[in-house]
């Protein structure tokens, strides 16, 4: 009784309310529940008794003290998710109660601010990607890709999807799960051993077999490799009648061509670098865009905010094309997604606004230069960095070690350095390297890795290998 979060749970309110309802004991309101289903006592959950705020603070504080934060230097774990700079403004804005305690803005008249922020998110992402239509968010890149592939099946009515063998193995597994209810074959296209790029011959070969709904390419790839034959890929994919799905590292777009410029039908990306933080894996943000094409837009999953006008002709914003969604179309919907990552989309638009044109160009340059500096330093101590000798890399550097990287990793950890991603975790991708997987690690260097941090890492690796 008298709980801070349950205002009416007090004697007076209870009495007034129960009297009006006409019951003595609130349990009478459960009279339609079969007796045997009613629990005789509350479930044993929580910590033995209700904790007060101060108690839960102390309790969680003790637990979190068992986590180890790598801040100086930040982790070098590479892949789709890397440490990035989170401006303080981003947290300040998404901590605004009006935003974070709002529901999906079904009532546009009282939620113009939320709708406009989401419209701006869609718009800035559209400009970054050079795509015309961006939805209001998916859960993360893995599920955005899964939805893109499901969408390609609906649009093309074909049954094969080609993906790069070098893609993020976690994303691959997610895709496999999401399409498992459909009649579809996912085919992995190998990468060139020299350049790390997609093997175009093998791609063409698979396309020739026909029935291809979509080809998925990454740029830069999960392994950091820049794909420069995008025009060729565009051409051959579209000649085959398949859709081209591009997975892009958004941070690269300050310097690198946007996927809209090389024919992408659908673009997916991980929004995590855009001011979201690491969050031990989530929440993140799935960026999802399509070309201006009736068929594509109508088959697109997820919510869309549009710019419109009021009955008085003033500019206004509202949810649009809702007839695609599950609450109207039910089993015919383009997706089951309702709750998405709206607040993370707001974080991303605040981040992108803060950087602006100049800042975004700078971001790409910082990452390009730092990751190539890391690669050079690693080569200088005799490592194969990147593994693909002729690859041009961005952010991520796949590195081959003379022996088991796991040993090196543990030595780094002892020195307070969280090293690269141990690719041995992912047996699936043992076919993308000539060296054993246990010898390969994926490192990243971003704008949060200073020269000192990188030098510190390389020195520590050197010591670990020599020592």
């Amino acid at each position: 009784m008298a709980h801070p979060w349950i205002p009416a749970a007090n004697e007076r309110d209870r009495r007034i309310m129960l009297e009006r309802i006409g019951v003595k004991d609130p349990i009478e309101l459960y009279s339609d529940v079969p007796k045997k289903l009613m629990l005789s006592e509350p479930p044993r959950v929580g910590l033995g008794k209700p904790l007060s705020e101060e108690e839960v603070r102390t309790h969680v504080d003790k637990l979190l003290a068992r986590n180890r934060v790598f801040r100086d230097p930040p982790p070098f774990i590479g892949g789709t998710v890397c440490p990035h700079y989170v401006p303080a403004v981003v947290d300040a804005i998404i901590s605004r109660a009006e935003f974070y305690t709002a529901y999906t803005p079904y009532q546009p008249e009282i939620n113009q601010g939320l709708l406009q922020a989401l419209f701006e998110y869609q718009s800035l992402m559209a400009d970054l990607l050079e795509m015309d239509v961006v939805n209001a968010s998916m859960y993360d890149m893995s599920t955005a890709l899964a939805e893109a592939i499901l969408m390609s099946l609906r649009v093309t009515h074909k049954h094969r999807v080609l993906v790069p063998a070098s893609m993020n193995p976690e994303h691959y597994e997610v895709v496999k799960t999401w399409v498992s209810g459909k009649n579809v074959e996912i085919v992995r296209i190998p990468v060139e051993r020299e350049t790390g790029r997609l093997n175009i011959e093998r791609l063409e070969e698979e396309l020739r077999k026909g029935d291809v709904a979509a080809v998925y390419v990454e740029n830069p790839s999960f392994l950091g490799v820049i794909e420069d034959r995008v025009n060729e890929i565009n051409e051959i994919v579209h000649q085959s009648g398949a859709l081209l799905i591009v997975g892009v590292d958004v941070t690269s777009l300050g310097l690198m061509r946007a996927p809209g410029s090389y024919g992408a039908d659908i673009v997916v990306a991980e929004g995590q670098p855009l001011g979201l933080g690491l969050n031990y894996g989530g929440p993140y943000l799935g960026i999802f865009a399509v070309r201006w094409d009736r068929k594509l837009v109508r088959q697109m999953p997820g919510r869309l905010v549009g710019m419109t006008r009021t009955v008085d002709g003033e500019r206004a914003f509202t949810l649009i094309l809702q007839t695609r969604e599950q609450h109207i179309r039910r089993e015919k919907a383009t997706s089951n997604i309702t709750t998405n990552e709206a607040l993370m989309a707001i974080a991303a638009v605040v981040y992108t606004s803060l950087l602006g044109r100049k800042g975004f160009e700078r971001l790409s340059r910082e990452i390009l230069v730092r990751s190539n500096y890391l690669a050079m330093k690693l080569r200088s101590i005799g490592l194969k960095a990147p593994v693909y000798p002729k690859a041009r890399i961005y952010k991520n550097v796949p590195v081959a070690f003379p022996g088991d990287y796991g040993v090196v990793h543990r030595k780094l950890l002892e020195k307070g350095i969280m090293g690269g991603l141990q690719l041995a975790k992912y047996p699936l991708i043992s076919d993308v390297f000539d060296v054993e997987l246990s010898r390969v690690a994926l490192f990243c260097a971003t704008e949060v890795h200073s020269k000192k941090h990188i030098d510190m890492l390389v020195d520590a690796i050197h010591e670990a290998i020599e020592g």
Binding site: Y100, D228, M256, K332, H409
Partner: protein
């Protein structure tokens, strides 16, 4: 004051953020011998259309936009089926801790024992509350949990060598149920609602067949009515070889009192951003753990959180499992908030919250009894649980004022509209869920407002149809918003139209 678009602010040359070590860049470029050759020539971007603003301008713009949004911290959001309860500030405070925020998902497990311990206990608690054995915390939202559940059902039958491709879904179900079933490859069979607002058992029996994979149900259902024949339903479906899937959207009414597992459900998903007080974020992020019992445990998406008596770890082993439903482990921040909520409520608190949510609903029904213009369809004498659905059909018939008009008129009084036109089986539906977070006074005000709107409608229906007048913008033109020649999903499309292109969708 209308707020300009971000594109209409700022000016050339302004910057809102300095990156961490910008001063080093020249030195690094020199060390690697220049950066020009790092990018393939044909991949160099020529144009980047982003606005340029100072930090001050960005802060003001989004602070002002936030003031034009509406959430639970400003007032009640009594949307039926949405369980918009209060989001404790302590959860926000704790979840800002850098010892969560700065953890990389692929850090060595020995360096994240604290958060793993939290997730481990959270799973145990959710299993206990639902009466299930294990939960996967990975699904990032309820719909993802549903998809996982549907895929589990699918794989379960396949592994048993059975061809079961039909999923039964009541006509009152949330749209996500049929959508998820369809995504998992099922054909959806609709089960009608009987005269008491519960599943029509005869129709259910008739729909069952050797192709039946399962039944997706929420209980209490979207009418706020408890499916009192649930044990019978479970028996029938199980006997027919189907499985029972529980949609956790409406758990708030019964948590701590009744468990889906005891009702006979095999799989349950939860919405932590509804029932367990994680904020809804204007649309997300959420968290939609999926739980199972018996044989179905083996099918849960991986990884699961485990403890070997010494350390906590992720178990990726997957013999029968459906695979992975999202990269990494799900939305950790809402999961942490649910942990805090349950720790602070404990079993008694959850029960208390459920009971109060039900009292609130039935108090409102008592206040609405006899108010002209509205009716409570399906057995009005029966208590509702977390929510209720009233129909404005009499009002619409007699005055032309529809449920949507009523919703907009509520906005005009500073009250948030309920969910409207859902469930589809009720005409002119107003679906209202106060949750335990609302005060008696507010419920009384809501009832009074509905009565007064109806009175106005009987007197002067046009007046009601003009609403809203007091909101920051007038009624939004939905037709224009969706017309192929004017639909505008991004500023890019707007500019292209401005420059003369004919863009038609």
């Amino acid at each position: 004051w209308p707020e300009p678009l971000i594109y209409e602010l700022g000016g050339e040359g302004r910057r809102g953020a300095i990156l961490p070590y910008e001063s080093e860049l020249e030195e690094l470029e020199a060390l690697i011998g220049g950066s020009s050759r790092l990018l393939p020539e044909n991949m160099v971007r020529r144009e980047l259309l982003l606005p340029e603003l100072s930090e001050v301008e960005v802060v003001r713009h989004y602070t002002r936009l936030s003031q034009m949004a509406y959430g639970v911290d400003l007032g009640p959001v009594p949307l039926g089926s949405c369980t918009m309860k209060y989001n404790p500030k302590i959860s926000e405070e704790i979840s800002r801790d850098p010892r969560v925020r700065l953890l990389h998902p692929l850090q060595d497990e020995e360096t994240v024992q604290g958060i793993l311990e939290i997730l481990y206990h959270l799973e145990k608690w959710l299993a206990e509350i639902t009466g299930m054995e294990r939960c996967s915390l990975v699904p990032p939202a309820g719909a993802a949990g549903e998809l996982a559940g549907a895929l589990m059902i699918r794989k379960y039958h396949i592994d048993r060598g059975e061809q079961r491709d039909e999923m039964l879904v009541p006509d009152s179900a949330h749209g996500t149920n049929p959508a998820s079933a369809a995504m998992a490859g099922f054909r959806v069979v609709r089960i009608p609602t009987g005269p008491h607002g519960t599943v029509d058992i005869e129709a259910l029996r008739a729909a069952l067949s050797p192709r039946t994979a399962g039944l997706m149900l929420t209980n209490p259902n979207t009418l706020g009515i408890f499916e009192d024949k649930i044990l019978e339903i479970a028996d029938i479906v199980h006997e027919a070889g189907g499985l029972l899937y529980y949609d956790g959207a409406n758990l708030n009414a019964i948590m701590g009192l009744v468990r889906p597992g005891d009702m006979g459900f095999d799989i349950v998903h939860l919405n932590l951003h509804k029932t367990f007080a994680a904020p809804h974020g204007g649309g997300g992020p959420g968290a939609g753990p999926v739980c199972a019992k018996g044989e179905l445990v083996d099918y849960l998406p991986r990884p699961l959180i485990e403890y070997d008596g010494r350390k906590y770890y992720w178990d990726y082993r997957c013999e029968k499992c459906i695979g992975r439903i999202r990269a990494y482990y799900g939305n950790i921040i809402p999961l942490l908030k649910a942990y805090i909520y349950i720790a602070m409520m404990s079993g008694e608190g959850l029960r208390e919250a459920a009971i109060q949510s039900v009292i609130n609903t039935n108090y409102f029904i008592a206040l609405m009894r006899g108010v002209k213009g509205y009716e409570l369809p399906y057995d009005p004498s029966r208590p509702r649980k977390h929510e209720l659905v009233i129909s404005a059909k009499p009002l619409a018939r007699e005055t032309g004022v529809t449920a949507e008009d009523v919703a907009k008129a509520l906005l005009d009084r500073g009250l948030h509209a309920p969910t409207i036109y859902f469930p589809l089986i009720v005409d002119e539906a107003l679906m209202i869920e106060f949750t335990e977070s609302e005060t008696r006074e507010y419920i009384e005000e809501y009832a009074r407002a509905l009565r007064e709107i109806a009175e106005t409608a009987y007197r002067d229906p046009k007046l009601v149809k003009k609403a809203p007048q007091n909101t920051s913008v007038k009624r939004v033109d939905n037709v224009y918003a969706n017309r192929p020649t004017s639909v505008t999903p991004t500023y890019r499309v707007y500019k292209r139209r401005l420059s003369g292109e004919k863009l038609v969708l």
